[in-house]
Amino acid sequence: MPSYTLRRAGALLPVLLVVSIVIFSLAYLTPGDPASTILGPEALEADVQNLRDSMGLNDPFLVQYFRWIWSAMHGDLGTSYFLKMSVAQAIGQHFLPTMQLAVLTIFYALVVSIPLGVLAARWRGSFFDHGIAGFTLIGLTFPSFVLSLILVIVFSVCLHWLPVAGYRNPFSEPWNGMRYLILPTLSLGTIYAAVITRTVRASVLDVLKAEYVDSARSRGVSESRLLFAHALRNAGLPIITMIGLSFASLVSGAVVAETVFNIPGIGSLLVNAIQRRDYPVAQGVVLFLTLLYLLLNLLVDLLYGLIDPRVRLSDAGAK
């Protein structure tokens, strides 16, 4: 295992390098530039060109790339064209809310989906199962921005329980901070809860047919334990993967919720950066996400070994 982990760590640099090239090329290919965004709708092309020049945006591709990657290797991801701060600072500032939201969302999704998925598998074909199926399908299909609006209308506008939008750091003001995070969590979590519920259900169903479940049952192991200890653990690989994936997509993909709830997260940082052509930020965020995902997936892969002893990633493929 340690050697495996080391080998994975060794892959870090090449992957980051390749991603950096890809992302830089994408940025280069994408039309438009920060200069035209700064100057606004009625600027003349000549002025835009001047600003581009002074921002160094007209240098050849390779010059730009090496300048960027060189300083990136020295730990400097550059400075945002718009945000009056370094990219590292921007990521640092926007990562915290995203992280909090992602953790809460996954937590909520798991709390909802694991019991539902397991029980739906247990009583498959029953009214309960149908109910869950209906719920998950709607959760899957209902666009999350619509759900967000409905939640806001109900809980903020009608009931006045929770704030409409915004973000306060729960570490500095716990109660208030949480209040701001509840609705985003609900609206984001529902779709993940739906996906994970269905994954859990499908995986557990696969497992419930196994004889060791009968065998454990014959030893007087209670039904709930059978489901939540045996079946769940056996179905663990896809579920853990699903959780890992959900977490990953929450970090970068919560843009819609972040926009509706006006949360300054990584997702909206990235999308804003792309829209404004704030390339240093977009590139920095993508590199950061790559690093994050590499670590996240390493963690998930290591968990595989813990969950299913037969899986040996260190020599997967040995006959």
Partner: protein, 310 residues
């Protein structure tokens, strides 16, 4: 032997795919729903003389009426016409994205589970791809190749593949250590055969869930992308952009979102039914199941996913 009363041909027939497909209510209803949708999208607009593009701004956001039986959108366009016309765009896109992504994802995931080296390389590529934002990809593609359907397709497929691949790989890794896979190895089956005959059917259940999810996701993401000029070009309708326009007018005309979502939910339900039905077809344990009571079967018409694999 303890078995009696069944002759050879009869029980063989009982197991043939065609025979079981015909008796698979879910499959039939699922295909019915999707087929009906497609049919309506193709035929109804001509039949009713609906034009999804005819604007009438003075008549915008009107509630359902005789003239516009689903009401009008924010340009005064007939919503029914747009939802029907949007069906073909959205369904085509979602179907091709999910099919492609699933095909590539499954291939990558299974391959990765077969070789340590490939696993390392493929999964690292996936890790990298996961971080690439669909938006940037779509914008860059659109810039390079012009606003085309295929850009959107490529961008979304690239973005979705890593997830599917990882999920499939997870299941495949567990399967690799099953004795029946070893048995196939022992009989000299090629890796390809093992992947196709043993690993693939066993990853289907997890895959099916992901595929329905991506199907719905594609429709919504398309909206976000076309908003930024990287999606379906205006004024062509898609369910995604109907939803987006509807969101802005949600207080005034909630039915826009309602109808578009209903169309989506119906599609996804149909899809799930097909998925579950297909699973019944490949999954053995569906054969000896006593016939469900008719009330349950009736219920299945309304709600999907009964008796998976049972």
């Amino acid at each position: 032997m303890a078995t009696t009363g069944i002759n050879d041909t009869n029980s063989e027939r009982r197991r043939t795919v065609a025979f079981r497909a015909m008796r698979n209510t879910q499959l039939i209803i699922g295909f019915g729903m999707i087929g009906g949708m497609a049919f309506a999208a193709v035929v109804l607009p001509h039949l009713l003389g609906l034009d999804p593009q005819a604007v009438e701004p003075l008549n915008r956001l009107k509630a359902p009426s005789l003239a516009h039986f689903l009401g009008t959108d924010n340009f005064g366009r007939d919503l029914a016409a747009r939802i029907l016309a949007g069906a073909s765009t959205s369904l085509r896109l979602a179907a091709s994205v999910t099919l492609l992504a699933a095909a590539i994802g499954v291939a990558v995931g299974i391959l990765a589970s077969f070789s340590r080296l490939l696993d390392h390389v493929l999964m690292r590529i996936c890790d990298g791809l996961m971080a690439i934002p669909a938006l940037l990809l779509a914008l860059a593609l659109t810039a390079t190749f012009g606003p085309k359907f295929s850009n959107l397709l490529i961008a979304l497929v690239i973005v979705f593949v890593p997830g599917i691949a990882r999920l499939v790989r997870a299941r495949a890794l567990a399967l690799r250590s099953e004795t029946f896979v070893e048995a196939a190895v022992a009989m000299g089956a090629s890796d390809l055969h093992i992947m196709g005959r043993h690993i693939f059917p066993n990853v289907l259940s997890v895959l099916a869930v992901q595929v329905t999810f991506l199907f719905a996701e594609t429709i919504v993401i398309e909206a976000a992308l076309s908003f930024l000029g990287a999606g379906v070009p205006p004024p062509a309708p898609s369910w995604g952009n109907i939803l987006y326009d509807g969101k802005a007018a949600i207080a005034k005309a909630p039915y826009m979102v309602l109808f578009a979502s209903t169309a989506m939910v119906m599609t996804v339900v149909g899809l799930t039914l097909i998925g579950d039905g297909l699973r019944d077809l490949v999954d053995p344990r569906s054969g000896s199941q006593p016939e469900a009571s008719w009330s349950k079967r009736l219920l299945r018409l309304v709600l999907p996913c009964t008796k998976e694999g049972a």
